[in-house]
């Protein structure tokens, strides 16, 4: 059995164990290492990717559920929102260890895709599932707000 889906804008075929979590398929079969393992049970958000434009935890999504869908990992980001978010991340020196930041960035871009001008409460709600053990939350919040302003301008 093979699974066909779109990955970062390209058609791909997966022919391994269909129960494999998307996380490991991305990392070990497609060589996309930006998406990280943190908990395996959708509790930390380090594996956040976009599936058909929505935030998804790749660690609990079997690759079989991706049939016909469009998956974007941090390596496949394009567009003004992604550019603004990643630019703000660098400008505000958000990352410390950096390990959770792919997931944080994917969640932040997902948020801005839904809400152009998020409030603090919107940010709290959208980012609640992304843990950062270095606790860079203050800068993540500032970076999201800065990126939102930049996209609007």
């Amino acid at each position: 059995m093979t699974i066909e889906f779109e990955l970062n804008g390209k058609a791909v075929t997966y022919s391994g164990d269909p129960d494999t979590p998307l996380l490991w398929a991305l990392r070990d079969d497609f060589g996309l290492k930006g998406t990280k393992y943190g908990c395996g049970v959708a509790q930390c958000g380090a594996c956040t990717v976009h599936v058909d434009g929505m935030n998804r935890r790749a660690c609990v999504a079997p690759v079989s559920s991706m049939e016909g869908r469009s998956v974007t990992s941090i390596e496949g980001l394009t567009g003004a929102v992604a550019e603004a978010v990643q630019g703000a991340w660098v400008a505000l020196n958000v990352p410390q260890c950096g390990y959770c930041q792919s997931g944080q960035i994917m969640s932040a871009i997902g948020l801005l895709g839904l809400i152009e001008d998020p409030s603090d409460a919107d940010i709290d709600a959208a980012m609640a599932g992304n843990i950062c053990r270095c606790v860079t939350y203050g800068r993540i919040r500032s970076a999201i707000l800065q990126a939102a302003q930049k996209v609007k301008a």
Binding site: P21, I74, Q86, S102, D124
Partner: protein, 724 residues
């Protein structure tokens, strides 16, 4: 100075880069592998070849002897070298040093490793001298090539120039010739007043790769023909494997082998998913005869009982505990601190490739010398046969630096058992949270008294805690029943209390402990700073004024940070806006000074809600103020989350009751307070910032909570202690 020169001056080509490869003087080698005092660090000779590589493309690569796990070492070390080299920030690169203790020892430790918030402190002169020496060699080369005087040459932002002749060049063009120039062992260093880069908010050198998913951690290392492994650990500390039925695991497609380890069973498979399924399918019987089967509740009771006797004397002033007899009012309090996991976002992981004559490791190695020593034992090899490539690590908070290097030994055993090429060995989050090496649990008993004027005149603190150093390579730190890492922050506290005693009971405990961000101060600061507030309240003394009058005269830097924080918070007492209160706590930790003041209300969940934190820090020369602010913010958030929600409890029979982030609760975005950080300007040599922001936040919050509600919090986490 030429009399100090030894063999040097050969070039090696590494890719497109030319390497200034200067053989180090034997003097430098001899000095490098022992602990140095700050004064000795200042005098140690320059070693540019160990730390700098200048490419034909003008790039300057700094070789970092310290792991980068978020604390900003790569940025800081590059700034130190770039400053004296007069390089431009854009030409700087950093890579991790190989495992070679003779070149890359932490001068503070006498071994290769990172910890104790010492990276900048022990590198401040070393990296600047490397930069200054390399600069002088580049200038000498330019002078020779251009046939002009050395003193007429200017170096600015990566450009070497000679005004009179109008000539200028980047560094790369002179890299080859520079390597043949005399090495100055004691080059002149800049007057700090003239620093151009140090003291500025340069962007983190790893910021871009960590915002694009490109940074490579151990888990990301790829090797040809690599297989994957996962591990099953005993469910209870100290249990050993009695019997294994691996038939179901072996039957899973992709499972290649099972390996019996000192602690548990490894499963090697073609894919990560197969390795994980293999571990889940193992049927293991455990021998519990040497296991630690007590629950943490039972341990707490034993510890609490122990604190009723004085224990080993770690420090006595005046009459010690007997001083209580001369006081007019007394308080007694018992504090309980839980086991805490570190839970770095990247669970333990490594890639290992054991071949017949050599072995390579790619891992987040924090105590490199310890890791290598244990690896060599497992593999039966010589140190020269083992290479450790230190990778970016997804956090540590102390987790990666274990005195017995247990994880490195496990990885070596897996690699050796496979023996057919590279293996990626990863722990699951459950392996991590249940795997021990926790911040040890402890009980503190405090008794204190005031005189008729409200002065604190007697203090008796008895601590019961296990030692995670005893019986390890760091056993030397434990003397006469005293492990200083267990009492730091209590023993030697900076308050002038005339009758003072700190006693210690080192408890036996089979649950493994380890360093945890700020180590002893992660619990001692809470007990000391909240108990002190209780004594102040008894005497009607303001917490800021009381501390200012109690801080020893010589601790001016501690007094300064407290005054700074009080200014920032506009402190006029513990009363805040309606429904809110303020609390304060201070610490001297790894030779840095931090004061934190918090504004707290009662949250919807009946727990403290922290609105604002004012933090003042004195860490000597501020190399990169923005990195320092980030470390204070992160340290505060990390410790606030731990204090509010985090604990590892051991259930009946000895099993840890938490296994993932659902039950080992971490702070989240909505719970993060606003934090304002102020850095006290200082000309003192730099000290640590990774840990010192941690200790004061929990006691400051508890102090504010008591001011708000009248209730003390003496059991952590607050989610438990507020109800107690």
């Amino acid at each position: 100075m030429t009399s100090h020169l030894t063999r040097r001056s050969f070039l090696a080509r590494a890719g497109t880069e030319l390497v200034i490869a200067v053989v180090l003087p034997s003097l430098a080698r001899a000095q490098a592998i022992r602990r140095m005092t700050p004064a000795e660090m200042r005098e140690a000779p320059a070693a540019p070849s160990a730390f700098l590589r200048i490419g034909e493309d003008d790039s300057v690569t700094v070789i970092s002897k310290h792991i980068e796990f978020g604390q900003g070492t790569f940025t800081g070390l590059a700034m130190l070298a770039a400053e004296e080299l007069d390089a431009d920030w854009s030409q700087m690169r950093v890579e991790a040093a190989p495992s070679e203790v003779t070149l890359y020892a932490n001068l503070n430790m006498g071994m290769q490793g990172t910890g104790g918030s010492s990276a900048m402190a022990n590198s401040y002169y070393q990296m600047r001298k490397a930069g200054a020496a390399a600069r002088s060699m580049l200038v000498a080369a330019a002078a020779q090539e251009w046939n002009v005087q050395v003193k007429e040459i200017l170096v600015e932002r990566g450009v070497i120039s000679h005004a009179a002749s109008g000539r200028s060049s980047g560094f790369g063009a002179f890299a080859t010739l520079a390597a043949t120039m005399p090495l100055m062992l004691q080059p002149d260093l800049k007057d700090p007043e003239t620093f151009r880069l140090i003291g500025t908010d340069l962007p983190r050198i790893d910021g871009d790769e960590k915002s694009t998913g490109k940074a490579v951690y151990s888990i990301d290392v790829e090797r040809e023909n690599m297989v994957q492994s996962a591990v099953l650990h005993p469910p209870v500390f100290g249990a050993t494997l009695k019997q294994l039925d691996a038939a179901a695991a072996d039957a899973i497609p992709g499972v290649l082998a099972t390996v019996q380890l000192d602690r548990g069973v490894g499963v090697i498979a073609q894919t990560r998913f197969a390795a994980q399924r293999g571990v889940a399918a193992l049927q293991a019987d455990w021998d519990m005869s040497a296991a630690e089967t007590r629950s943490s509740e039972e341990m707490f009771r034993t510890y609490a009982e122990a604190t009723k006797t004085p224990g080993a004397d770690t420090e006595t002033r005046g009459l010690g505990a007997k001083g209580l007899e001369g006081t007019v009012r007394q308080v007694e309090a018992e504090y309980r601190f839980p086991f805490l996991a570190h839970a770095p976002m990247e669970p333990m992981g490594a890639v290992v490739d054991v071949q017949s004559e050599k072995a390579e490791f790619w891992m987040g190695s924090q105590l490199v010398t310890r890791d290598k020593t244990e690896i060599v034992k497992v593999l039966g090899m010589q140190p020269e046969q083992v290479d450790i490539h230190t990778m970016f690590a997804g956090g540590s908070f102390g987790r990666l630096g274990t005195p017995d290097a247990e994880f490195a030994a496990e990885v070596a055993a897996i690699g050796k058992a496979w023996g057919k090429g590279p293996v990626k060995h990863l722990w699951s989050r459950e392996n991590d949270i249940r795997g021990g090496r926790y911040r040890p649990m402890s009980v503190h008993r405090l008794r204190g008294g005031i005189d008729e004027k409200g002065n604190v005149t007697a203090w008796d603190q008895v601590i019961a805690i296990q030692s995670f150093l005893k019986g390890t390579a760091f056993d030397g730190a434990v003397r006469n029943g005293v492990d200083r890492s267990a009492v730091e922050g209590a023993r030697g506290v900076a308050y002038d209390i005339p009758n003072f005693h700190v006693g210690l009971h080192l408890m036996e405990n089979g649950v493994t402990g380890n360093f945890w961000r700020s180590v002893g101060s992660s619990h001692t600061c809470f007990a000391v700073e909240t108990f002190l507030d209780e004594l102040f309240a008894l005497g009607g003394v303001d917490p800021v004024q009381g501390r200012l009058s109690l801080i020893s005269d010589e601790e001016t830097r501690l007094r300064n940070v407290l005054e700074r924080a009080a200014d920032m918070a506009d402190w006029s007492g513990v009363e805040g806006k309606p429904g809110r209160a303020l609390g304060v706590a201070i610490v001297k930790c790894f030779r840095s000074y931090v004061a934190e003041i918090v504004e707290v209300s009662r949250g919807e969940d009946s727990l403290p809600k922290v609105h604002k934190v004012w933090c003042a820090v004195d860490c000597g020369v501020a190399i990169n103020p923005d990195v320092i602010r980030a470390q204070m913010e992160g340290g505060i958030g990390f410790a606030l989350g731990a204090a509010m929600y985090s604990e590892i409890t051991i259930g009946a029979g000895g099993r840890p009751e938490q296994g993932n982030f659902d039950l080992f609760r971490s702070i989240r975005m909505s719970e993060m307070p606003e934090i304002e950080v102020s850095i006290v300007k200082s000309t003192a040599d730099p000290t640590g910032v990774g840990e010192p922001g941690v200790p004061p936040i929990a006691p400051a919050v508890a102090n504010a909570w008591r001011a708000l509600t009248g209730k003390s919090i003496r059991t952590l986490p607050f989610s438990r202690g507020v109800m107690a």
